[in-house]
Point group: C2
Chain length 210, copies 2
DNA sequence: TCGTTGCTGTAGTGCTCGTTCCAATTGGAA
DNA sequence: TTCCAATTGGAACGAGCACTACAGCAACGA
């Protein structure tokens, strides 16, 4: 292994081990879902014994929740509405959609695991599911805020409808790409989606004014 | 193997038992996914011992595949494009979307389980996943056929893009409803979706002609 | 030098899983 | 009646699961 014989790490491995466990867990959980993620598999992939995993995390539930939390933070950073200097509202929202698409292509594990957790209806809901629904809510509110910023005329009902539709389209296009692979140009589809949502939004705003 | 087959009485329970097993399995698998569906749970729910399940189905994989197959048939029957007497193309496609939405509200287990299977990436792919991807492909082709019927001018590239987008929207809206519950009016959202897709389609057709 | 803290390594625990084996039961065919 | 095939019932299997108990060891503060 990569254990430096000179100048041993300060303390043991603490922080780094935690990261290694999370790295292994996000990969396995992103592929196999909650039940499919065994502690033994995570242990094998990160090279640390099960007892280390249980030293860092309370139980499997806690581990999965931490996986969701960490990968959401990474992912959220990639999703920002470009500033006004980036052009017209349509151009800005299209650029944002394009960024979301790229981040989903680069790191699909987060959303794949999240959707699997969200779809399951187990009697005792895992904490990971709750965490995902929470961070997903944050993302939704961000989308709603973007809609309000770009089209201040819209009433809250329209904002809610558009937000639901926008997020649903993102989920659905992601799923399509997961299923059909590279046959789906996710960036192009997201840009089309942004365009259609923008169109629907302006029409709703016009109808309200008219 | 020529058997008289004269309105024979059910020997033991044969066909009915098979249905009972499938009924129990579709419910559990729709809630808990592949790994979460244990033979013991199915056995408990349908009241038949595990050995009966293994008499009717080769193994767990075979059972899940049969679940997908049967529920797809039920579901597909609900999805037809209304005939020309139903009005304009937009009205017809909107009505079709509305029907799909209703069928998903009534029987969400099929798509929920299918999406869970589709998202998982296990080393040895379960047959249920293959079956779902196959029946999903059938549904997609049906959508493509509807697009071609209503707008014969479109080239195949546009048809493919529109089909992908239409199916993705359906998946995404379904997921939204699974997550947010009755807060999402699935029928209304599907009708909005149909409208936007129709709009995009006519614009694509016009751009080609122009 | 000593004790404490932080983490790793080994070797389990009891439980549930998918699956199998085989002995009953049951109703029609001979 | 006897036989057979279609089912059911029950018990057991080895494997893998989440999780734990506990000893060992490296680095610090004292």
């Amino acid at each position: 292994m990569t254990r430096p014989q000179t100048a041993r790490k300060k303390r043991a491995n603490g922080v780094e081990s935690r990261q290694r466990i999370l790295d292994a867990a996000v990969e396995i959980a992103g592929e196999r879902g909650y039940e499919g993620t065994s502690i033994a598999a995570v242990s094998a992939k990160c090279g640390l014994p099960a007892s280390s995993i249980y030293w860092h995390f309370k139980d499997k539930d806690d581990l999965i929740a931490a996986v969701i939390e960490r990968s959401f933070e990474t992912w959220l950073a990639a999703v920002e509405l470009p500033g006004e200097e980036a052009g017209t509202p349509l151009e800005r929202v299209t650029a944002m959609a394009s960024n979301v698409a790229k981040s989903l292509v680069d790191a699909p594990d987060f959303l794949r695991l999240g959707l699997m957790l969200a779809l399951e209806r187990r009697p005792a809901e895992p904490r990971g599911r709750t965490v995902f629904l929470h961070v997903r809510d944050i993302a939704s509110q961000k989308v709603a805020e973007v809609v309000r910023t770009l089209l201040p005329d819209l009433d809250e009902d329209a904002v809610r409808t558009l937000t639901t539709y926008a997020v649903a389209g993102a989920d659905g296009l992601f799923v399509q790409r997961e299923i059909n692979g590279d046959g789906v140009d996710l960036v192009a589809m997201f840009e089309l989606h942004a365009q259609l949502v923008h169109e629907a939004a302006t029409r709703m705003a016009a109808r309200k004014r008219g």
